[in-house]
Protein backbone atom coordinates (compact mmCIF):
# COMPACT_ATOMS: atom_id res chain seq x y z
CA UNK A 1 0.00 0.00 0.00
CA UNK A 2 1.42 3.36 -0.98
CA UNK A 3 1.33 5.93 1.81
CA UNK A 4 0.39 9.43 0.57
CA UNK A 5 2.75 12.38 0.67
CA UNK A 6 1.30 15.53 2.20
CA UNK A 7 2.46 18.73 0.59
CA UNK A 8 2.60 21.94 2.56
CA UNK A 9 3.68 25.30 1.28
CA UNK A 10 7.19 25.19 2.70
CA UNK A 11 7.95 21.52 3.36
CA UNK A 12 6.92 17.98 2.42
CA UNK A 13 6.06 15.19 4.87
CA UNK A 14 6.65 11.70 3.57
CA UNK A 15 4.46 9.59 5.89
CA UNK A 16 6.06 6.33 4.78
CA UNK A 17 9.57 7.53 5.57
CA UNK A 18 8.42 9.15 8.81
CA UNK A 19 6.69 5.99 10.07
CA UNK A 20 9.76 3.91 9.17
CA UNK A 21 11.92 6.40 11.04
CA UNK A 22 9.64 6.27 14.11
CA UNK A 23 9.67 2.45 13.98
CA UNK A 24 13.48 2.45 13.88
CA UNK A 25 13.69 4.75 16.91
CA UNK A 26 11.10 2.79 18.90
CA UNK A 27 12.68 -0.55 17.98
CA UNK A 28 16.15 0.68 19.00
CA UNK A 29 14.77 1.79 22.38
CA UNK A 30 12.89 -1.49 22.94
CA UNK A 31 15.95 -3.52 21.93
CA UNK A 32 18.16 -1.60 24.32
CA UNK A 33 15.61 -1.97 27.11
CA UNK A 34 15.13 -5.74 26.70
CA UNK A 35 18.88 -6.34 26.41
CA UNK A 36 19.46 -4.36 29.59
CA UNK A 37 16.66 -6.13 31.46
CA UNK A 38 17.83 -9.56 30.31
CA UNK A 39 21.43 -9.00 31.36
CA UNK A 40 22.27 -10.26 34.85
CA UNK A 41 22.39 -7.88 37.82
CA UNK A 42 20.84 -4.92 35.95
CA UNK A 43 17.90 -5.03 38.38
CA UNK A 44 20.32 -3.68 40.99
CA UNK A 45 20.69 -0.44 39.01
CA UNK A 46 17.19 0.73 39.88
CA UNK A 47 15.18 0.40 43.06
CA UNK A 48 11.86 1.17 41.35
CA UNK A 49 11.55 -2.24 39.73
CA UNK A 50 12.49 -5.77 40.73
CA UNK A 51 12.87 -8.22 37.91
CA UNK A 52 15.61 -10.67 38.77
CA UNK A 53 15.45 -14.15 37.26
CA UNK A 54 13.72 -16.54 39.66
CA UNK A 55 15.92 -19.60 39.97
CA UNK A 56 13.86 -22.76 40.40
CA UNK A 57 16.65 -24.51 42.36
CA UNK A 58 15.43 -23.30 45.74
CA UNK A 59 11.93 -24.67 45.07
CA UNK A 60 13.09 -28.26 44.58
CA UNK A 61 12.59 -30.85 47.28
CA UNK A 62 13.49 -34.51 47.26
CA UNK A 63 12.01 -37.47 49.08
CA UNK A 64 12.44 -41.22 49.15
CA UNK A 65 9.46 -43.50 49.75
CA UNK A 66 9.77 -47.21 50.53
CA UNK A 67 6.64 -49.27 49.92
CA UNK A 68 6.14 -52.74 51.34
CA UNK A 69 4.15 -54.79 48.86
CA UNK A 70 1.41 -57.23 49.80
CA UNK A 71 2.20 -60.08 47.41
CA UNK A 72 0.10 -62.67 49.28
CA UNK A 73 -2.68 -62.75 46.64
CA UNK A 74 -0.41 -62.32 43.64
CA UNK A 75 -0.27 -65.13 41.08
CA UNK A 76 2.40 -63.66 38.82
CA UNK A 77 4.46 -61.72 41.36
CA UNK A 78 7.13 -60.38 39.01
CA UNK A 79 4.58 -59.13 36.52
CA UNK A 80 2.42 -57.56 39.23
CA UNK A 81 5.38 -55.73 40.79
CA UNK A 82 6.24 -54.36 37.36
CA UNK A 83 2.63 -53.20 37.00
CA UNK A 84 2.71 -51.43 40.40
CA UNK A 85 5.92 -49.63 39.32
CA UNK A 86 4.34 -48.56 36.04
CA UNK A 87 1.16 -47.25 37.69
CA UNK A 88 3.12 -45.24 40.25
CA UNK A 89 5.36 -43.81 37.53
CA UNK A 90 2.32 -42.94 35.43
CA UNK A 91 0.76 -41.06 38.38
CA UNK A 92 3.98 -39.09 38.92
CA UNK A 93 4.27 -38.30 35.18
CA UNK A 94 0.68 -37.06 35.08
CA UNK A 95 1.38 -34.84 38.06
CA UNK A 96 4.29 -33.28 36.13
CA UNK A 97 7.02 -34.37 38.54
CA UNK A 98 10.42 -33.41 37.11
CA UNK A 99 12.43 -36.45 38.26
CA UNK A 100 11.27 -39.80 39.59
CA UNK A 101 12.94 -43.20 39.93
CA UNK A 102 10.97 -46.32 40.78
CA UNK A 103 12.99 -49.41 41.73
CA UNK A 104 11.96 -52.73 43.23
CA UNK A 105 13.99 -54.91 45.58
CA UNK A 106 13.61 -57.92 47.86
CA UNK A 107 14.59 -58.07 51.52
CA UNK A 108 13.90 -60.94 53.95
CA UNK A 109 11.42 -62.55 51.51
CA UNK A 110 9.43 -59.30 51.33
CA UNK A 111 9.08 -57.27 48.15
CA UNK A 112 9.66 -53.52 48.31
CA UNK A 113 9.48 -50.59 45.90
CA UNK A 114 11.65 -47.56 46.43
CA UNK A 115 10.49 -44.29 44.86
CA UNK A 116 12.78 -41.29 44.69
CA UNK A 117 11.16 -38.01 43.74
CA UNK A 118 12.80 -34.68 43.02
CA UNK A 119 10.37 -31.96 42.09
CA UNK A 120 8.98 -28.48 42.63
CA UNK A 121 5.39 -29.77 42.70
CA UNK A 122 3.25 -29.56 45.83
CA UNK A 123 4.51 -32.09 48.39
CA UNK A 124 0.97 -33.06 49.48
CA UNK A 125 -0.04 -33.86 45.89
CA UNK A 126 3.00 -36.13 45.48
CA UNK A 127 2.28 -37.80 48.83
CA UNK A 128 -1.35 -38.37 47.78
CA UNK A 129 -0.50 -40.20 44.55
CA UNK A 130 2.08 -42.43 46.25
CA UNK A 131 0.54 -43.14 49.66
CA UNK A 132 -2.65 -44.79 48.43
CA UNK A 133 -2.75 -47.88 46.15
CA UNK A 134 -6.28 -46.77 45.13
CA UNK A 135 -7.72 -50.22 44.45
CA UNK A 136 -11.23 -49.68 43.10
CA UNK A 137 -14.00 -52.31 43.29
CA UNK A 138 -17.75 -52.13 42.87
CA UNK A 139 -19.50 -53.90 45.73
CA UNK A 140 -23.06 -54.83 46.71
CA UNK A 141 -24.57 -54.94 50.19
CA UNK A 142 -24.47 -58.26 52.04
CA UNK A 143 -27.81 -59.68 53.11
CA UNK A 144 -28.67 -59.63 56.82
CA UNK A 145 -26.64 -56.56 57.75
CA UNK A 146 -28.42 -53.56 59.21
CA UNK A 147 -26.89 -50.58 57.41
CA UNK A 148 -29.24 -48.16 59.20
CA UNK A 149 -28.12 -49.16 62.71
CA UNK A 150 -27.37 -45.90 64.54
CA UNK A 151 -25.14 -47.72 67.06
CA UNK A 152 -22.81 -48.90 64.26
CA UNK A 153 -22.28 -45.75 62.17
CA UNK A 154 -19.26 -47.26 60.31
CA UNK A 155 -21.26 -50.21 58.91
CA UNK A 156 -21.93 -48.65 55.47
CA UNK A 157 -18.23 -47.85 54.99
CA UNK A 158 -16.57 -51.19 55.80
CA UNK A 159 -15.74 -53.61 52.98
CA UNK A 160 -16.50 -56.64 55.18
CA UNK A 161 -20.20 -55.74 54.96
CA UNK A 162 -20.24 -55.96 51.18
CA UNK A 163 -19.88 -58.61 48.46
CA UNK A 164 -17.35 -58.02 45.67
CA UNK A 165 -18.78 -57.90 42.14
CA UNK A 166 -17.02 -58.67 38.86
CA UNK A 167 -16.49 -54.91 38.31
CA UNK A 168 -13.24 -53.19 39.14
CA UNK A 169 -11.28 -50.30 37.61
CA UNK A 170 -10.51 -52.34 34.49
CA UNK A 171 -14.24 -52.70 33.72
CA UNK A 172 -14.46 -49.01 32.87
CA UNK A 173 -13.20 -47.11 29.86
CA UNK A 174 -12.72 -43.89 31.78
CA UNK A 175 -13.62 -42.34 35.10
CA UNK A 176 -14.46 -38.73 34.49
CA UNK A 177 -14.34 -36.20 37.32
CA UNK A 178 -16.77 -33.34 37.03
CA UNK A 179 -18.91 -30.98 39.08
CA UNK A 180 -22.59 -31.85 39.53
CA UNK A 181 -25.35 -30.59 41.82
CA UNK A 182 -25.59 -32.61 45.03
CA UNK A 183 -28.64 -33.26 47.27
CA UNK A 184 -28.20 -29.80 48.84
CA UNK A 185 -28.42 -28.29 45.32
CA UNK A 186 -24.80 -27.14 45.50
CA UNK A 187 -22.01 -28.03 43.10
CA UNK A 188 -19.54 -30.67 44.25
CA UNK A 189 -17.18 -33.10 42.54
CA UNK A 190 -18.32 -36.53 41.35
CA UNK A 191 -16.62 -39.41 39.55
CA UNK A 192 -18.60 -40.63 36.54
CA UNK A 193 -17.89 -44.27 35.64
CA UNK A 194 -17.97 -44.72 31.86
CA UNK A 195 -17.95 -48.09 30.11
CA UNK A 196 -17.49 -49.10 26.49
CA UNK A 197 -20.77 -48.72 24.50
CA UNK A 198 -20.81 -52.44 23.62
CA UNK A 199 -20.34 -53.58 27.24
CA UNK A 200 -23.75 -54.94 28.29
CA UNK A 201 -22.66 -56.43 31.65
CA UNK A 202 -22.52 -53.05 33.38
CA UNK A 203 -25.89 -51.91 32.03
CA UNK A 204 -27.38 -55.23 33.18
CA UNK A 205 -25.89 -54.62 36.64
CA UNK A 206 -27.39 -51.12 36.75
CA UNK A 207 -30.80 -52.43 35.63
CA UNK A 208 -30.73 -55.24 38.22
CA UNK A 209 -29.81 -52.81 41.01
CA UNK A 210 -31.90 -49.80 39.93
CA UNK A 211 -32.95 -47.78 42.96
CA UNK A 212 -30.67 -49.85 45.23
CA UNK A 213 -27.65 -48.72 47.20
CA UNK A 214 -24.37 -50.32 46.10
CA UNK A 215 -20.83 -49.23 46.98
CA UNK A 216 -17.52 -48.19 45.50
CA UNK A 217 -14.65 -49.58 47.52
CA UNK A 218 -11.35 -47.70 47.39
CA UNK A 219 -8.61 -49.37 49.43
CA UNK A 220 -11.30 -51.17 51.44
CA UNK A 221 -13.20 -47.99 52.35
CA UNK A 222 -16.67 -48.03 50.79
CA UNK A 223 -18.58 -45.02 49.48
CA UNK A 224 -22.31 -45.91 49.27
CA UNK A 225 -23.92 -44.94 45.95
CA UNK A 226 -27.60 -45.10 45.07
CA UNK A 227 -28.23 -46.20 41.49
CA UNK A 228 -30.91 -43.93 39.95
CA UNK A 229 -34.14 -45.66 38.94
CA UNK A 230 -33.58 -44.61 35.31
CA UNK A 231 -29.98 -46.05 35.49
CA UNK A 232 -28.79 -42.95 33.62
CA UNK A 233 -25.65 -42.16 35.56
CA UNK A 234 -23.30 -43.84 38.00
CA UNK A 235 -21.89 -40.85 39.87
CA UNK A 236 -19.73 -41.35 42.94
CA UNK A 237 -19.17 -38.36 45.27
CA UNK A 238 -15.48 -37.64 45.85
CA UNK A 239 -13.80 -35.79 48.67
CA UNK A 240 -12.32 -32.96 46.60
CA UNK A 241 -13.09 -29.32 47.20
CA UNK A 242 -10.77 -27.69 44.66
CA UNK A 243 -9.86 -28.22 41.02
CA UNK A 244 -6.36 -29.36 42.03
CA UNK A 245 -7.71 -31.99 44.42
CA UNK A 246 -10.17 -33.19 41.78
CA UNK A 247 -7.30 -33.46 39.30
CA UNK A 248 -5.35 -35.68 41.73
CA UNK A 249 -8.38 -37.94 42.24
CA UNK A 250 -8.77 -38.16 38.45
CA UNK A 251 -5.08 -39.07 38.18
CA UNK A 252 -5.52 -41.87 40.75
CA UNK A 253 -8.67 -43.26 39.12
CA UNK A 254 -7.22 -43.22 35.61
CA UNK A 255 -3.69 -44.58 36.10
CA UNK A 256 -4.65 -48.27 35.91
CA UNK A 257 -5.71 -51.12 38.14
CA UNK A 258 -3.27 -51.65 40.99
CA UNK A 259 -2.74 -55.44 41.14
CA UNK A 260 -1.76 -55.54 44.83
CA UNK A 261 -1.93 -53.46 47.97
CA UNK A 262 0.98 -51.86 49.74
CA UNK A 263 1.87 -49.84 52.81
CA UNK A 264 4.44 -47.10 53.23
CA UNK A 265 7.25 -48.56 55.32
CA UNK A 266 9.56 -45.56 55.17
CA UNK A 267 9.36 -41.97 54.03
CA UNK A 268 12.37 -39.67 54.30
CA UNK A 269 13.55 -36.35 52.96
CA UNK A 270 16.83 -36.53 51.05
CA UNK A 271 19.13 -33.77 49.75
CA UNK A 272 18.30 -32.47 46.28
CA UNK A 273 20.67 -33.11 43.40
CA UNK A 274 20.26 -30.13 41.08
CA UNK A 275 22.59 -29.01 38.32
CA UNK A 276 23.92 -25.78 39.86
CA UNK A 277 24.74 -23.21 37.20
CA UNK A 278 25.96 -19.68 37.75
CA UNK A 279 23.71 -17.87 35.33
CA UNK A 280 25.78 -14.68 35.47
CA UNK A 281 28.83 -16.54 34.20
CA UNK A 282 26.69 -18.48 31.76
CA UNK A 283 25.31 -15.23 30.27
CA UNK A 284 28.83 -13.87 29.92
CA UNK A 285 29.97 -17.11 28.27
CA UNK A 286 27.09 -17.16 25.81
CA UNK A 287 27.59 -13.49 25.00
CA UNK A 288 31.28 -14.06 24.26
CA UNK A 289 30.42 -17.18 22.24
CA UNK A 290 27.85 -15.36 20.09
CA UNK A 291 30.30 -12.50 19.39
CA UNK A 292 33.14 -14.91 18.53
CA UNK A 293 30.97 -17.10 16.32
CA UNK A 294 29.61 -14.18 14.33
CA UNK A 295 33.08 -12.61 14.06
CA UNK A 296 34.34 -15.90 12.70
CA UNK A 297 31.47 -16.14 10.20
CA UNK A 298 32.19 -12.54 9.17
CA UNK A 299 35.89 -13.26 8.67
CA UNK A 300 35.47 -16.38 6.55
CA UNK A 301 33.13 -14.38 4.26
CA UNK A 302 30.94 -17.35 3.38
CA UNK A 303 27.75 -15.55 4.36
CA UNK A 304 26.54 -12.13 3.15
CA UNK A 305 27.07 -9.42 5.76
CA UNK A 306 23.40 -8.44 5.84
CA UNK A 307 22.36 -12.04 6.56
CA UNK A 308 24.92 -12.26 9.35
CA UNK A 309 23.68 -9.01 10.82
CA UNK A 310 20.04 -10.16 10.72
CA UNK A 311 21.02 -13.49 12.26
CA UNK A 312 23.02 -11.86 15.09
CA UNK A 313 20.35 -9.23 15.82
CA UNK A 314 17.55 -11.85 15.79
CA UNK A 315 19.55 -14.02 18.18
CA UNK A 316 20.10 -11.15 20.61
CA UNK A 317 16.47 -10.02 20.31
CA UNK A 318 14.97 -13.52 20.80
CA UNK A 319 17.13 -14.43 23.79
CA UNK A 320 16.73 -11.00 25.39
CA UNK A 321 12.95 -11.03 24.93
CA UNK A 322 12.71 -14.53 26.38
CA UNK A 323 14.84 -13.77 29.45
CA UNK A 324 13.05 -10.44 29.93
CA UNK A 325 9.71 -12.28 29.87
CA UNK A 326 10.98 -14.82 32.42
CA UNK A 327 12.31 -12.05 34.65
CA UNK A 328 9.27 -9.77 34.54
CA UNK A 329 6.70 -12.56 34.89
CA UNK A 330 8.81 -14.05 37.74
CA UNK A 331 8.41 -17.55 36.33
CA UNK A 332 10.65 -19.96 38.25
CA UNK A 333 13.27 -21.15 35.77
CA UNK A 334 15.57 -24.15 35.55
CA UNK A 335 18.83 -22.45 34.59
CA UNK A 336 20.28 -25.61 33.01
CA UNK A 337 17.20 -25.89 30.76
CA UNK A 338 17.50 -22.21 29.91
CA UNK A 339 21.13 -22.88 28.87
CA UNK A 340 20.00 -25.70 26.55
CA UNK A 341 17.23 -23.50 25.13
CA UNK A 342 19.64 -20.66 24.40
CA UNK A 343 22.09 -23.01 22.64
CA UNK A 344 19.25 -24.45 20.54
CA UNK A 345 17.89 -21.03 19.62
CA UNK A 346 21.31 -19.69 18.57
CA UNK A 347 21.83 -22.68 16.26
CA UNK A 348 18.25 -22.53 14.97
CA UNK A 349 18.24 -18.82 14.12
CA UNK A 350 21.42 -19.15 12.05
CA UNK A 351 19.80 -21.90 9.97
CA UNK A 352 16.51 -19.99 9.60
CA UNK A 353 18.22 -16.77 8.55
CA UNK A 354 20.80 -18.22 6.18
CA UNK A 355 18.48 -20.66 4.44
CA UNK A 356 15.30 -18.80 3.56
CA UNK A 357 14.07 -21.70 1.40
CA UNK A 358 14.23 -24.04 4.43
CA UNK A 359 12.66 -21.61 6.91
CA UNK A 360 9.06 -22.75 6.53
CA UNK A 361 9.97 -26.45 6.52
CA UNK A 362 12.25 -26.27 9.57
CA UNK A 363 9.78 -24.08 11.51
CA UNK A 364 6.79 -26.34 10.88
CA UNK A 365 8.69 -29.56 11.55
CA UNK A 366 10.31 -28.33 14.76
CA UNK A 367 6.98 -26.94 15.98
CA UNK A 368 5.40 -30.34 15.33
CA UNK A 369 8.17 -32.09 17.22
CA UNK A 370 7.85 -29.66 20.12
CA UNK A 371 4.10 -30.25 20.24
CA UNK A 372 4.60 -34.04 20.25
CA UNK A 373 7.20 -33.67 23.02
CA UNK A 374 4.75 -31.62 25.11
CA UNK A 375 2.08 -34.30 24.71
CA UNK A 376 4.16 -37.46 25.13
CA UNK A 377 7.25 -36.21 26.94
CA UNK A 378 7.79 -36.15 30.66
CA UNK A 379 9.65 -34.11 33.27
CA UNK A 380 12.29 -31.84 31.78
CA UNK A 381 11.41 -32.77 28.16
CA UNK A 382 7.95 -31.26 28.64
CA UNK A 383 9.40 -28.04 30.09
CA UNK A 384 12.08 -27.80 27.37
CA UNK A 385 9.61 -28.52 24.53
CA UNK A 386 7.03 -26.05 25.80
CA UNK A 387 9.62 -23.26 25.98
CA UNK A 388 11.05 -24.28 22.62
CA UNK A 389 7.66 -23.98 20.92
CA UNK A 390 7.39 -20.39 22.16
CA UNK A 391 11.00 -19.71 21.15
CA UNK A 392 10.46 -21.04 17.60
CA UNK A 393 7.60 -18.56 17.13
CA UNK A 394 9.60 -15.77 18.78
CA UNK A 395 12.66 -16.52 16.60
CA UNK A 396 10.64 -16.23 13.39
CA UNK A 397 9.05 -12.95 14.51
CA UNK A 398 12.49 -11.63 15.53
CA UNK A 399 13.96 -12.52 12.13
CA UNK A 400 11.25 -10.55 10.29
CA UNK A 401 11.53 -7.57 12.64
CA UNK A 402 15.34 -7.58 12.47
CA UNK A 403 15.28 -7.76 8.68
CA UNK A 404 12.88 -4.80 8.49
CA UNK A 405 14.90 -2.84 11.07
CA UNK A 406 18.26 -3.39 9.37
CA UNK A 407 16.81 -2.46 5.97
CA UNK A 408 15.44 0.78 7.48
CA UNK A 409 18.67 1.64 9.25
CA UNK A 410 20.70 1.02 6.10
CA UNK A 411 18.26 3.16 4.14
CA UNK A 412 18.40 5.96 6.73
CA UNK A 413 22.17 5.86 6.81
CA UNK A 414 22.24 5.44 3.03
CA UNK A 415 24.52 2.37 3.28
Amino acid sequence: MKIPKFKFKKFHINLGETSRYIFTVIFSSVLLAVVLISLPLTEKVTSSATYDLVNKNSLYWSKEYTLELDTSKSINEKNDIEKVKSILQKRLYKLGVEESFVNSFEKDDTQYIKITVQTTKDIQSVDSVINSPFIVNIVTRKDGIDFENQDEPLTPYLLENYDLTQFNRDSFRNIYITQLRNSSNEYSYFALFKTWPWDSKWSTFLTDNAGQIVGVSIDEFVTPVQIPTDQSLFAVPISATSKEEASIVSNMYNSGLMPMGYTISEEKNIPTNIAEIDYIKLTQGILVAVILIYLYLLLIEKTPKKVLLISALSTVLTISLWITYLKISEIPTDIFILALEVITVIALIRILTENIESRMFVTILLSLISAVSIIFGSGYIKIFAYDLLILIVLSNISIYISDYYITNVRRSLKI
Binding site: E99, F336, A339, L365
Partner: protein
Protein backbone atom coordinates in the same frame (compact mmCIF):
# COMPACT_ATOMS: atom_id res chain seq x y z
CA UNK B 1 21.89 -54.61 23.71
CA UNK B 2 23.89 -54.55 26.94
CA UNK B 3 24.51 -50.82 26.46
CA UNK B 4 20.76 -50.14 26.17
CA UNK B 5 20.05 -52.35 29.20
CA UNK B 6 22.72 -50.54 31.17
CA UNK B 7 21.17 -47.15 30.40
CA UNK B 8 17.58 -48.23 31.03
CA UNK B 9 18.42 -50.20 34.16
CA UNK B 10 15.67 -49.92 36.79
CA UNK B 11 13.25 -48.24 34.39
CA UNK B 12 9.62 -49.26 34.81
CA UNK B 13 7.83 -50.81 31.84
CA UNK B 14 5.66 -47.70 31.56
CA UNK B 15 8.71 -45.43 31.45
CA UNK B 16 10.36 -47.60 28.80
CA UNK B 17 7.20 -47.81 26.67
CA UNK B 18 6.64 -44.05 26.92
CA UNK B 19 10.21 -43.31 25.89
CA UNK B 20 10.07 -45.71 22.91
CA UNK B 21 6.71 -44.31 21.83
CA UNK B 22 7.94 -40.74 22.19
CA UNK B 23 11.15 -41.31 20.21
CA UNK B 24 9.34 -43.32 17.53
CA UNK B 25 6.75 -40.53 17.16
CA UNK B 26 9.47 -37.93 16.64
CA UNK B 27 11.28 -40.17 14.15
CA UNK B 28 8.14 -41.01 12.15
CA UNK B 29 6.88 -37.41 12.08
CA UNK B 30 10.27 -36.20 10.84
CA UNK B 31 10.61 -38.92 8.21
CA UNK B 32 7.05 -38.58 6.91
CA UNK B 33 7.30 -34.78 6.76
CA UNK B 34 10.59 -35.00 4.84
CA UNK B 35 9.12 -37.54 2.41
CA UNK B 36 5.83 -35.73 1.83
CA UNK B 37 7.65 -32.44 1.30
CA UNK B 38 10.25 -33.75 -1.15
CA UNK B 39 8.64 -36.94 -2.56
CA UNK B 40 12.26 -38.03 -3.08
CA UNK B 41 13.27 -41.47 -1.83
CA UNK B 42 16.99 -40.68 -1.92
CA UNK B 43 16.58 -37.80 0.54
CA UNK B 44 14.31 -39.97 2.66
CA UNK B 45 16.91 -42.73 2.78
CA UNK B 46 19.64 -40.28 3.70
CA UNK B 47 17.48 -38.80 6.45
CA UNK B 48 16.72 -42.25 7.88
CA UNK B 49 20.46 -43.03 7.93
CA UNK B 50 21.17 -39.72 9.67
CA UNK B 51 18.48 -40.37 12.30
CA UNK B 52 19.52 -43.95 12.97
CA UNK B 53 23.20 -43.08 13.22
CA UNK B 54 22.43 -40.21 15.60
CA UNK B 55 20.33 -42.57 17.76
CA UNK B 56 23.19 -45.09 17.94
CA UNK B 57 25.68 -42.31 18.70
CA UNK B 58 23.36 -40.96 21.43
CA UNK B 59 23.20 -44.35 23.14
CA UNK B 60 26.94 -44.87 22.74
CA UNK B 61 27.67 -41.34 24.02
CA UNK B 62 25.48 -41.75 27.12
CA UNK B 63 27.08 -45.14 27.81
CA UNK B 64 30.59 -43.68 27.51
CA UNK B 65 29.76 -40.73 29.74
CA UNK B 66 28.30 -43.10 32.33
CA UNK B 67 31.02 -45.76 32.30
CA UNK B 68 34.22 -43.88 31.51
CA UNK B 69 33.52 -40.50 33.10
CA UNK B 70 31.29 -41.94 35.81
CA UNK B 71 28.56 -39.34 35.33
CA UNK B 72 25.25 -40.37 36.89
CA UNK B 73 22.48 -40.73 34.31
CA UNK B 74 19.56 -38.57 35.37
CA UNK B 75 16.26 -37.40 33.92
CA UNK B 76 17.93 -34.49 32.07
CA UNK B 77 19.64 -37.06 29.80
CA UNK B 78 16.28 -37.76 28.21
CA UNK B 79 16.59 -34.33 26.54
CA UNK B 80 19.59 -35.61 24.49
CA UNK B 81 17.56 -37.35 21.72
CA UNK B 82 15.26 -34.33 21.41
CA UNK B 83 18.15 -31.86 21.26
CA UNK B 84 19.99 -34.04 18.73
CA UNK B 85 16.84 -34.32 16.60
CA UNK B 86 16.40 -30.53 16.58
CA UNK B 87 20.02 -29.90 15.59
CA UNK B 88 19.95 -32.69 13.02
CA UNK B 89 16.68 -31.51 11.50
CA UNK B 90 18.04 -27.98 11.16
CA UNK B 91 20.79 -29.48 9.02
CA UNK B 92 18.56 -31.86 7.04
CA UNK B 93 16.17 -28.95 6.56
CA UNK B 94 18.85 -27.20 4.49
CA UNK B 95 18.92 -30.12 2.07
CA UNK B 96 15.14 -30.27 1.90
CA UNK B 97 14.78 -26.50 1.42
CA UNK B 98 17.46 -26.47 -1.28
CA UNK B 99 15.84 -29.42 -3.06
CA UNK B 100 12.36 -27.84 -2.98
CA UNK B 101 13.63 -24.52 -4.32
CA UNK B 102 15.77 -26.02 -7.10
CA UNK B 103 14.03 -29.23 -8.16
CA UNK B 104 11.97 -27.56 -10.90
CA UNK B 105 14.90 -25.83 -12.59
CA UNK B 106 15.99 -27.47 -15.84
CA UNK B 107 19.66 -27.94 -15.00
CA UNK B 108 19.05 -29.36 -11.53
CA UNK B 109 20.63 -32.67 -10.63
CA UNK B 110 20.14 -34.42 -7.30
CA UNK B 111 23.93 -34.55 -6.87
CA UNK B 112 23.96 -30.71 -6.55
CA UNK B 113 22.48 -31.11 -3.08
CA UNK B 114 25.78 -32.62 -1.91
CA UNK B 115 27.66 -29.45 -2.79
CA UNK B 116 25.21 -27.24 -0.90
CA UNK B 117 25.06 -29.74 1.95
CA UNK B 118 28.85 -29.76 2.24
CA UNK B 119 29.06 -25.95 2.56
CA UNK B 120 26.36 -25.82 5.21
CA UNK B 121 27.67 -28.82 7.10
CA UNK B 122 31.10 -27.23 7.49
CA UNK B 123 29.53 -24.02 8.74
CA UNK B 124 27.23 -25.85 11.13
CA UNK B 125 30.04 -28.03 12.45
CA UNK B 126 32.20 -25.05 13.35
CA UNK B 127 29.20 -23.16 14.67
CA UNK B 128 28.09 -26.00 16.94
CA UNK B 129 31.61 -26.77 18.17
CA UNK B 130 32.22 -23.12 19.07
CA UNK B 131 28.83 -22.78 20.70
CA UNK B 132 29.12 -25.96 22.73
CA UNK B 133 32.70 -25.37 23.82
CA UNK B 134 31.98 -21.79 24.86
CA UNK B 135 29.30 -22.86 27.33
CA UNK B 136 31.14 -25.84 28.80
CA UNK B 137 33.03 -23.92 31.45
CA UNK B 138 29.85 -22.54 32.94
CA UNK B 139 27.63 -25.61 32.98
CA UNK B 140 27.25 -28.41 35.51
CA UNK B 141 28.66 -31.86 34.68
CA UNK B 142 25.24 -33.26 33.78
CA UNK B 143 24.27 -30.35 31.51
CA UNK B 144 27.76 -30.40 29.97
CA UNK B 145 27.31 -34.08 29.19
CA UNK B 146 23.94 -33.39 27.53
CA UNK B 147 25.46 -30.63 25.37
CA UNK B 148 28.55 -32.71 24.45
CA UNK B 149 26.67 -35.90 23.56
CA UNK B 150 24.00 -34.01 21.56
CA UNK B 151 26.51 -31.85 19.67
CA UNK B 152 28.97 -34.62 18.88
CA UNK B 153 26.20 -37.04 17.86
CA UNK B 154 24.73 -34.41 15.53
CA UNK B 155 28.08 -33.50 13.98
CA UNK B 156 29.11 -37.14 13.52
CA UNK B 157 25.80 -38.17 12.01
CA UNK B 158 25.64 -35.23 9.57
CA UNK B 159 29.18 -36.03 8.36
CA UNK B 160 28.35 -39.72 8.14
CA UNK B 161 25.26 -38.98 6.09
CA UNK B 162 27.31 -36.58 3.94
CA UNK B 163 29.81 -39.37 3.28
CA UNK B 164 27.04 -41.86 2.49
CA UNK B 165 25.31 -39.30 0.25
CA UNK B 166 28.19 -39.92 -2.22
CA UNK B 167 26.56 -43.28 -2.96
CA UNK B 168 22.93 -42.26 -2.64
CA UNK B 169 22.72 -38.82 -4.26
CA UNK B 170 24.05 -39.71 -7.71
Amino acid sequence: MNIVENITENWSRFELNMEIFFLLSIFLISIFTIYFTTKERKILLLSIIAFLSSAILNIFGIFLINTIFDVEIREIFKVIPLLTTILLLSNLGIQVGYYISKKDSKKFKISYIRKEYFKDTIKQTIFLLLLASSTLLFLSVQTESVVIVSTLSTISSIWLSYWISKYILK
